[in-house]
């Protein structure tokens, strides 16, 4: 098994760039949403970028990822096409689902992003099944299942943990614990006990870490993915993080008062990107010039993607009845 080693500055810059890119894309979507041309629900991952980036950076391109309603970060971090994402949110023919899915249904098989759906828990057993298939086919592929703390309440998660442990399936369960299911705090849904220990009780090796520290996520994920790949069985990772914006939609929702200003402020202060920028800048790994260049590159890429989306054909009802069956 590989030992986790110190990252070099190139790798660090890549992690930073990947997080910054997701942030800027989410912000661009949020800004443009007000124009009322993205007519589907969107669940933005602003504030939670480090988990998607840290985990996906530890995967190979041929490894697989399944995800949930808040999937933009997972999709992009795994390498999913930006233009196809934006076009999908705009309901265009060139979107990754041809407009059938919208923001809540993303797919890019060319990079192993197997699909994301908004029925909570829906894709968790699919990840187990995909990983199981890899072992039955005797290849060394690992599958990651991204889900939230709310999903951990679904029975199917525990059924999946049980089966994965039983067959030593190379799946890595990644629980993004942002403490909220829509507007309901975890304490109103779960007793006070660590989720990762429940996974351990299922016989699944588990670890937990700060989901806003991208290197910590990367290191923990690297170890877990490596173990899964080496046949040591499924792994469960719980990362704490914070959702900055409303559950669904482009805005902040401080006005709803379901969380205190102090808590929101603490969440914003834990910004994974700001912290990493500060760390890399101090270590001389990243200069202000580098960051400016990243910003410009990302901005240009976003503009291209939005132009691509908005100039793409609008599908019609004549397209809607195709593809019901294979």
């Amino acid at each position: 098994m590989k030992q986790v080693r110190a990252m070099d500055t190139v790798e660090q810059s890549q992690l930073f760039h990947s997080m910054l890119r997701i942030r800027r894309i989410e912000e661009a979507l949020a800004r443009k949403y007000a124009e009322q041309e993205m007519r589907c629900p969107i669940h933005l991952c602003v504030g939670q970028e480090a988990i998607a980036v840290g985990v996906c950076a530890a995967l190979n391109q041929t490894d697989l990822v399944f995800s949930n309603h808040r999937a933009h970060g997972h999709y992009l971090a795994k390498g999913g096409g930006l233009a196809e994402l934006v076009a999908e949110v705009y309901g265009r023919e060139t979107g990754c689902c041809g407009g059938r899915g919208g923001s809540m249904h993303l797919i890019d098989l060319s990079v192993g992003f197997m699909g994301s759906t908004p029925i909570v828990g829906g894709t968790v057993p699919l990840a187990v099944g995909a990983a199981w298939a890899a072992t039955l086919k005797r290849n060394r592929q690992v599958t990651v299942s991204f889900f939230g703390d709310g999903c951990f309440e679904e029975g199917v998660v525990h059924e999946s943990l049980n089966f994965a442990a039983l067959h030593k399936i190379p799946v890595v369960f990644v629980c993004e614990n942002n403490d909220f299911s829509v507007y309901t705090r975890r304490t109103e849904r779960q007793p006070d006990r660590p989720m990762f220990e429940i996974a351990q009780a299922h016989g699944v090796e588990a670890a937990t870490g700060n989901g806003n520290d991208v290197e910590e996520v990367f290191n923990i994920a690297t170890t877990a993915i490596d173990k899964a790949r080496c046949g040591l069985g499924p792994q469960f990772l719980e990362f704490r993080t914070y959702r900055w914006r409303e559950h669904c939609g482009p805005n902040f929702d401080d006005d709803l008062r379901y969380r205190l200003p102090l808590e929101i402020e603490a969440g914003l202060n834990a910004c994974p990107i700001a912290h990493y920028r500060s760390k890399l800048t101090k270590a001389n790994g990243l200069s202000g010039l580098d960051i400016d260049r990243y910003e410009l590159e990302i901005q240009a890429e976003i503009e291209v993607a939005f132009n691509f989306a908005l100039s793409s054909r609008r599908p019609g009802i004549e397209d809607a009845n195709r593809k019901v069956y294979a």
């Binding site: 309901g91 899915g101 679904e154």
Partner: protein, 368 residues
């Protein structure tokens, strides 16, 4: 304001469908301490589209609950609570989420009374909301009433007006059987006259929304409002009077009401909010054909969604949902009216939807 026309003696107080649901819950909880309300988001700031707002403040954390994301398990828990004397009301913000609870609903709730020889029953109400519009897409906008209505032991209702929402929810909670109370999201903001007092509306009866003798249009949930729009336009522009029935209940079906109307009109259209194949529209037509074949002057017609999932894209949904125009066209085909006449063109202009097709009203700016 449908009820005003039929029951003008009632106090003319207007509430939205969602407010009527809330008032029903509040009044039943006040009257019956056995009633509890539970669901994902019930006490949260959005309060299930404002239909549960203030209930926790009034009745406390011992009767109004949020819920883990555990639909099947918690349905079982509610069935157990019902078996031991409570009257739980469960809420799913999307009917699609209730699919996770199919086992408990179909194998336990629906069967308990029967398989234990009537020794126990499950007085459970499950509110399920059908989404539509703003890209709800394949997994958030299904109309699954027929799937549930197929199961003996379940009652399935779909009130259309705020008046019926209140009265039928009260009846549902008082009922000793499991009742699935299906709400169309686009009805939530529609106002109606809703009396303040505690009243019941039966769970097994449709009603006539608009009288006529040309064609019977038996409609479910939101389609009843679409049919009413069609009926008004047809009467005004062409002098054609169709009879619109708001079916209100899916199981049991009020076939008698439809038969009475068909004896008068000889023509039947069933307008449903669901997929075509296996729809309750098909079941209703089967029953009418079996029982009144000789009264039909022409073939019956189903107006449903196409037989494919709802796409998300705004552009692909533009012609996905049938509306007043669909109903008008089918009516005119059945009665043989020329669709190239000036009257028809004016009719089309009158019923044409204004504003975006994917929102219930023009104030709406998404997302749900």
């Amino acid at each position: 304001m449908l009820i005003a026309k039929y029951m003008p003696e009632l106090e003319q107080r207007s509430l939205s469908f969602a407010e009527a649901v809330r008032e029903a819950l509040e009044q039943v909880m006040e009257k019956d301490p056995r009633v509890i309300v539970i669901g994902e988001g019930v006490p949260d700031p959005k309060a299930i589209f404002n239909s549960t707002i203030g209930l926790r403040d009034k009745y406390g954390t011992g009767r109004v609950f949020d819920m883990p994301l555990a639909e099947n398990g918690l349905t079982g828990v509610c069935i157990g609570a019902a078996l031991n004397g409570l009257r739980p009301v469960m809420v799913h913000q999307r009917i699609d989420f209730a699919l996770l609870a199919m086992d408990q609903l179909v194998n336990n709730a629906a069967k308990w009374h029967y398989m234990f020889d009537g020794k126990a029953s499950v007085p459970l109400v499950v509110r399920m909301i059908v989404g539509r519009g703003w890209g709800q897409g394949p997994q958030h906008s299904q109309s699954l009433q027929a799937m549930f209505a197929q199961v003996p032991g379940l009652k399935v209702v779909m009130p259309t007006t705020a008046y019926d929402a209140k009265g039928m929810l009260i009846s549902a909670i008082e009922d000793d059987n499991p009742v699935l109370f299906i709400e169309h999201r686009w009805l939530h903001d529609i106002q109606d006259i809703v009396p303040e007092e505690y009243y019941r509306v039966p769970l097994d009866q449709g009603r006539i929304l608009h009288e006529g003798d040309a064609v019977t249009v038996a409609a479910f949930s939101y389609m009843a409002l679409e049919a009413l729009t069609a009926a008004k336009a047809l009467r005004t522009e062409l002098g054609t009077a169709i009879e619109v029935l708001d079916m209100r209940s899916v199981r049991p079906l009020d076939v008698g009401l439809v038969l009475n109307s068909v004896r008068k009109t000889g023509r039947l259209i069933v307008a449903d909010t669901a997929f075509r194949t296996g729809s309750i529209a098909g079941e209703l037509i089967s029953q009418v054909v079996e029982q009144a074949f000789d009264k039909l002057k022409t073939h019956p017609v189903r107006i449903t969604l196409p037989d494919h999932p709802a796409p998300t894209s705004y552009f692909m949904t533009e012609h996905y949902y049938p509306g007043p125009q669909t109903i008008i066209d089918e009516v005119l085909k059945l009665v043989g009216v020329d669709r190239h006449s000036d009257g028809y063109k004016k009719l089309c202009a009158v019923t044409q939807r204004r504003g975006p097709h994917d929102t219930p009203n023009r104030e709406f700016s998404g997302p749900f």
